[in-house]
C-alpha cells in the first residue's frame, strides 16, 4: 500500500492527468489480464481435438473465453470509471491547457481499448502454442500426402461424377443431361453429344462472349438453366469427349477435389491432379497400397478414427481398369447409427455404403486451417477495426459525460432516438421517389448527419442556450464520421451509376474513389472522428467560459 500511495502521490503532484485517469494502474491491471488471456489462449489448444473444434482460430468466441472477457472488462471498467469520475479539473475551471481535454480523451481511449481487447492476447497465446506444437513444413508435407491419397477415400459419391472432373483437357466441362422425353429441350442435336445407357449427354464450355450478350441483367447458373424450358444453345461451346464416355459412371478418374486446402496453392493442386491421373493409369497396385498406407499412418497421427487396413481398403477401390465405385466408406462408425450420407448423383444410381468400413475425418480440415492461420494470417485488420471503434464509442460517451453532465447525456440520447425515428419515417415516406432504396438511404443519412452538424455550428454562433449547444455537439461527435461515411457511399454509388449508364454490363466496376475508400476508408473515418473530438475539446472549453 505504501508503494501504491507513493506512486499516487508522485503522479498527483507531477502528472495530474495520468493520476486522474489512473493510467498507470490501468496499464498494470490490463497487462495482467492480457497475460491471463494469453495463458488461457495458450492452454486452449492442449489436444489435437481442441483445434478440430473451431475454425479460423475462433475458439475465443465459441468457447467461454469471450464471456470471461466481457465480465472482466465490465468489472475493471466500472471500478475504473468510479475512480476516474472523482476528479474533474475541467468542470472546476482549473487552469488546463488547450490540448488537455484531447489528451484526456486519448488516454481514456487507450484504457478502453486495452480493457476490451483481450481477444488479441488470447489469440496470440493460441498462435504461440500452435507454433510450438506444429511445424508448418511438416504439416504442409502431411497435407500433400493426404491429398495424394484423397481420391481413394470414397465417401461422397458426388465427388466422383464426371461433372467434377477437372483433368485432363478439355475438362472441366458443363454437362447437359436428357432422356428421351426432353432430348430436344436440352441437347443441341446439331453438335456432338453422347448416348450412354439410354440417356443423352452433351459436354460444353460456356462461351463467355455469347453468354454476356444473352444475360445482361444477372448471372445464371447453367445448371439452373437446364431446368428452364427455353435453353439457348448458342452459349454452348460444345466439346466432343466420347473418349471419356465410360466415366459418366462414378469413377476414381473423375475425382478432382483437394481433401485439405489449407496453405495449398494452384501448383500443388495441379500436381495432385496429374498424380491422381498417373497413379490410376499405371494401375500400379503397390503404388496405390503405399498411398493407402501413408494415409492410414497420417490418420493415426492426426487422431482420425477409422477401421480401415490397407488390404480391405484396397479391395474396396481396386476395380480396374476404370476404377468405378462399387461401395462407399462411411463417414462415421456404421454400427452406432447410420448417419453416413452422400450427395446423390444427378446422373447415376446411388452407390451403397460399406457395412463396416468407416473413416471419421470430422473437422480435421479445421485443424489444418487453424495451424495455417497461426503461421500465416496472424491477425485480421477487420477485427482490429471493430475493437478500435467499440473502444472509441465507449471513450466518447465517457468523455462527453466528463465534459458536460448527466442531463446533457440523457437529453442527447433522447434527441438521438428522435433522430432515428425521424430517419426511419423519412425512409418510408420517400419510398415512392424514383431513386433506388440503397441510394436513397445514403442520401438521407448524409443529409440528416449534415443537419446535426449544421445545428451544432449555428447554435454556437447564434448563442443558443448552452444545453442545446452541448446536446447538438454530443450528437455531432457521432454525426461527423457518419456524414463522412455516407457522403463517401453516396459518391461511390453515384460514380458507379454514372459508369453503368455508359457501360451497362460492367457491374463489377469499381471507381478509383471506391478502391481508395475500401483500402483507407476505415482509417479516414477514424481520422475524421479524432478530428471531430479535437474540435469538440477546443470548443467545449470556450463554451464552458460562456455565461448561460
Amino acid at each position: 500500500m505504501n508503494f501504491i500511495n507513493k506512486i499516487n502521490k508522485y503522479l498527483l503532484e507531477n502528472y495530474p492527468l495520468i493520476w486522474n485517469t489512473r493510467l498507470v494502474w490501468m496499464l498494470g491491471v490490463t497487462f495482467l489480464v492480457h497475460i491471463l488471456f494469453f495463458i488461457i489462449g495458450y492452454s486452449a489448444a492442449n489436444e489435437l481435438n481442441d483445434l478440430k473444434d473451431h475454425y479460423n482460430l475462433s475458439s475465443f468466441y465459441e468457447d467461454n473465453a469471450v464471456y470471461y472477457n466481457v465480465l472482466i472488462s465490465i468489472f475493471i471498467l466500472l471500478i475504473w470509471i468510479v475512480f476516474y469520475l472523482r476528479n474533474n479539473a475541467f468542470k472546476n475551471i482549473y487552469q488546463v491547457s488547450k490540448g488537455f481535454l484531447f489528451k484526456q480523451f486519448l488516454l481514456i481511449l487507450i484504457i478502453f481499448f486495452l480493457s476490451i481487447s483481450q481477444y488479441f492476447s488470447f489469440k496470440q497465446g493460441l498462435v504461440t502454442k500452435i507454433k510450438s506444437d506444429f511445424d508448418w513444413e511438416q504439416i504442409d508435407a502431411d497435407i500433400k500426402t493426404f491429398n495424394k491419397s484423397g481420391l481413394f477415400l470414397v465417401q461422397n459419391q458426388a465427388d466422383y461424377q464426371i461433372t467434377e472432373k477437372k483433368y485432363p483437357e478439355p475438362f472441366p466441362l458443363e454437362v447437359a443431361y436428357a432422356d428421351k422425353n426432353n432430348f430436344e429441350d436440352n441437347i443441341d442435336s446439331t453438335r456432338a453429344y453422347i448416348k450412354f445407357e439410354g440417356s443423352y449427354y452433351q459436354f460444353y464450355k460456356i462461351n463467355p462472349k455469347f453468354y454476356q450478350d444473352k444475360n445482361e441483367d444477372f448471372y445464371v447458373d447453367e445448371r439452373v438453366f437446364l431446368e428452364d424450358v427455353e435453353v439457348d444453345f448458342s452459349i454452348r461451346d460444345v466439346k466432343d469427349v466420347s473418349a471419356f464416355k465410360e466415366f459418366i459412371k462414378p469413377s476414381l478418374f473423375n475425382y478432382s477435389k483437394e481433401l485439405f486446402h489449407s496453405g495449398q496453392d494452384s501448383l500443388a493442386y495441379e500436381d495432385q491432379l496429374k498424380n491422381h491421373q498417373k497413379i490410376l493409369e499405371n494401375k500400379d497396385e503397390s503404388e496405390i497400397k503405399i498411398a493407402l498406407k501413408n494415409f492410414l499412418e497420417l490418420a493415426d497421427k492426426y487422431e482420425i478414427s477409422h477401421n480401415l487396413d490397407v488390404d480391405r481398403w484396397f479391395e474396396l477401390i481396386n476395380y480396374q481398369p476404370n476404377y468405378f465405385l462399387k461401395e462407399l466408406i462411411n463417414t462415421s462408425p456404421p454400427n452406432a447409427y447410420r448417419t453416413s450420407s452422400s450427395t446423390k448423383s444427378r446422373y447415376y444410381d446411388d452407390i451403397p455404403f460399406s457395412e463396416t468400413l468407416y473413416v471419421e475425418l470430422k473437422n480435421t480440415n479445421y485443424l489444418f486451417s487453424n495451424i495455417h492461420e497461426a503461421y500465416f494470417i496472424n491477425s485480421k485488420i477487420e477485427v482490429l477495426f471493430v475493437y478500435l471503434y467499440c473502444a472509441f464509442i465507449l471513450a466518447l460517451l465517457l468523455f462527453i459525460f466528463k465534459t458536460t453532465n448527466l442531463k446533457n447525456i440523457i437529453l442527447a440520447i433522447v434527441a438521438s432516438l428522435v433522430l432515428i425515428i425521424l430517419i426511419v419515417w423519412l425512409m418510408s415516406a420517400t419510398k415512392n421517389l424514383s431513386i433506388n432504396s440503397e441510394y436513397r438511404a445514403y442520401i438521407l443519412m448524409t443529409f440528416m448527419s449534415f443537419l446535426v452538424l449544421l445545428i451544432s455550428f449555428v447554435s454556437y454562433q447564434l448563442y443558443w442556450k448552452k444545453i442545446v449547444i452541448s446536446i447538438s455537439w454530443s450528437l455531432a461527435l457521432f454525426a461527423s464520421p457518419i456524414f463522412f461515411l455516407f457522403s463517401c457511399l453516396t459518391i461511390i454509388r453515384y460514380l458507379h451509376q454514372q459508369h453503368l449508364d455508359l457501360y451497362p454490363k460492367e457491374y463489377d466496376y469499381q471507381s478509383d474513389f471506391e478502391i481508395w475508400f475500401s483500402k483507407f476508408g476505415f482509417w479516414a473515418i477514424l481520422l475524421i472522428s479524432f478530428l471531430t473530438v479535437y474540435l469538440y475539446s477546443v470548443y467545449i472549453r470556450k463554451l464552458k467560459a460562456r455565461p448561460a
Partner: protein, 386 residues
Amino acid sequence: MIQTQEQLIENALLYFKRGDFSLGYRTLLDTALNTDSEEIFKKLLAFIEIYEKESSEDKSSLLSSFQECATEISKIKIEPQSGLGETILKAEKITKNYNKGRFILGPVDVDLKKGDIFGLVGENGNGKTTLLTVLASIIKETSGRLIYSFSSDKKDSYELLSKLVYIPQRTAVWYGKVLDNLKFALVHHHVKGEKNDLLVLMMVARFGLWKYKDLKWSELSSGYKMRFELARTMLRKPEIILLDEPLANLDILAQQIILEDLKMMSKSAVNPIAMVFSSQQLYEVEKISDKVIYLRNGKPSDQLNLEEKENNALIIELDSENERTEIEQVFVNNELQKLEFNGGVYILYFTKGISLNDVLIIIAKNDLKVQYIRDISKSTRRFFVY
C-alpha cells in the same frame, strides 16, 4: 487597510505574545505563504507539527519557536503588489430579467478593486444570488456591461475565467481525500512536485484543517467543508472571489473565523483579492466590508432613495423588557419621530441632532431595562423593516 509584510509579522508576534494564539498563528502562516519560499514552508511545517500537537490551550511555551519562524520569514523581502486599488471588476448598469420580466435585477453598478470586500445583503428572493452569478459570468446579464481587468495577459476566455472563483451556497461535492483534492487543484495551477506538497500542507494548516487532512471530504463537518473550500480557492490564486452565503449553517465561532479569514485573504500584502459575498449576518458583514450593497426587489439601496428619506438622523435598535408605552413616554419628549416594533425588537427613529450618547443618558436616567442596543443609522439593518 492593506498591511505590509513587516506589519503582519509584528502583528503575529503581538497576537501570540498576548495570548491570541490562533490569530497569531494564522497571521504568521499568512506571512509565510506570502514568501512563496519552499525553505520557509519546510521550517513552518516543522513548527506546525509541534503547534498542532500541543494540546494545551496555553501555547506560550511555543513562543520561542514562533519567534524563530517570524525571524526567518522577515529575512525574505516581499515586493508589494503592484496595481493595488485598480478596478478589476466593473459592472455598469447591469440588469437581469427573470420570468418574462416578473423579476428584474438592477440596474446595478459595481466598481470592485483589488483588496475590496463588498457585502451583499437583502431579504430572501431579492436577487443576491442572481447578482453574484452575473458577476461570476455564470449567467448572462440582460443588459449593461461587465468588464474584468485581470492582471493576466491571457486572452483565452476559459483561462481568464479561471482567475475568478465563485463559491455557491451549496458547495460542490468532492470525492476522495481532502489532501488529494487540494493537490489536484494546485497542480493544475502550475505548482508541481515537492512545492505542491508543501504549499498544500501550509494551506491546510492555515485554514485549520490540519487534524482532518487525512480524512475524506465527506467526513468533514459543514464548517470544515467551507474551510476546505477557502483553502482550495486560495491555492488557485484567484483575483476575484464571489461567495454566496458562506456563513450559512456555520456556528457563531466558525462564522467569525471565516469572516476574519476572508478579510485577511482580501487584504493580503502579496495577493490582494477582490471579494463580494452575500450573507444574512448583517452586522458581521458590515464589520468587515468596505461597502455593503443592499438589494430590495432587485434594486440596490442607492436607487431606492432610502438614505434620503432618513435624512441621516439617528436610528436605534433596542431590545427591552419595558412596555411599548413606557418606551414611548420616555422618548416622546426627546425628538422621537417614530417607533416600530418588529421581530421582537424596537426600532426608534429620531430627529436630526440627537446622538447615541444622548439616548444612553436618557435610558440611564429613566432606568429602562435594556438588554440590547445598537446604532443602526448607517447599517443596512434599518432597511429590514416591515
